[in-house]
Amino acid sequence: MAGINLVKGQKIDLTKGNAGLTNVVVGLGWDPAEPARGFFGVKKQANVDCDASAILLSEGGKLLNKTNLVCFHNKQNPNNSVVHSGDNLTGDGDGDDEQIKVNLKAVPADVHRVLVVVNIYDAVNRKQDFGMIKSAYIRIINGAGGSELVRFNLTDNYTGFTALICGELYRHGDEWKFAAIGEGAHAAHINQLAERYI
């Protein structure tokens, strides 16, 4: 079955329509935009290093514990229900650039939202922003079987933003849902983005 394509703001049930769904993989992908062509041909650009992270929030939208920020330097939460599969330094190539695995049934009860964000590593020093990235998407894959359940292509113009709040898995009653957010944000570092939720 083909995944459902979401548009910005849309919310969708994950577990309700997929009884037994426990393990999901959140895949994030992006490509470097074509570099601007100068008078002497292609201008050399530094790699844009995008990093995906999951910020695990309480019902009230708070990051209760630093270990609930799952990113390249803290690859899992304390009970291993949310695991970052590793850093990709360039975004080149097809398919997911980074993945976050979530065991929905094992997510601690005090975590109500798994906010998935991408930020540009060292964006300020390298003078980079999301205008240099294209074809960004977030998708949810069934961890058992690998079929794509949901996909959200981020099509807005994010020029000037150094972070991208892609979407969130969240509890709704006893079920999990996914919301396509697609909002740009400003953050020099992932910790700075996480600080908003403290």
Binding site: G9, Q10, K11, G61, E183
Partner: protein, 191 residues
Amino acid sequence: MAINLSKGQKIDLTKTNPGLSKIKVGLGWDTNKYDGGKDFDLDVSVFLTNANGKVDKETNFIFFNNKQNENGSVVHAGDNRTGEGDGDDEVIDIDLKSIPADVEKVAFTITIYEAEQRSQNFGQVSRSYVRIVNEESNVELIRFDLGEDFSVETGVVVGELYRNAGEWKFSAIGSGYKDGLAGLTRDYGLQ
């Protein structure tokens, strides 16, 4: 204590509250908690319709540019541009006994101002509700929380007051519209 309605429910208002005439209809919402860089401006509009659900004249369409009907029985208390803070974001004051006889329904809607240009929709709006308060006693009579039903819609018909055998009732509608205020005004026969 207020009665919490669910979508599709209808409830008597004046029959169980004899003497009730002046009510406040409060609508509230929270918008995008993420850094979108653009403000959300939600607007409440009220359509006073005939028995066929159509608005007969423009003065029966109450919104930020026409804040009351001709006899002042339905009054929009003013625009709120951000949706910030607790409590009602916009309020409509209604005197049920003075509503002109040719008005059978009073429909409450919320739309997103410039939704398309700002790429905003009701999926980014949370905790929206409508409540009806007895203006004299300040007691909340009815409340309807809209829940999670909306995503890409840019307008919502929240609910409507309607006449039923000499009494006023309230119906919790909660249906979404895709083309915002333009779509709503068209459906209510204004264009």
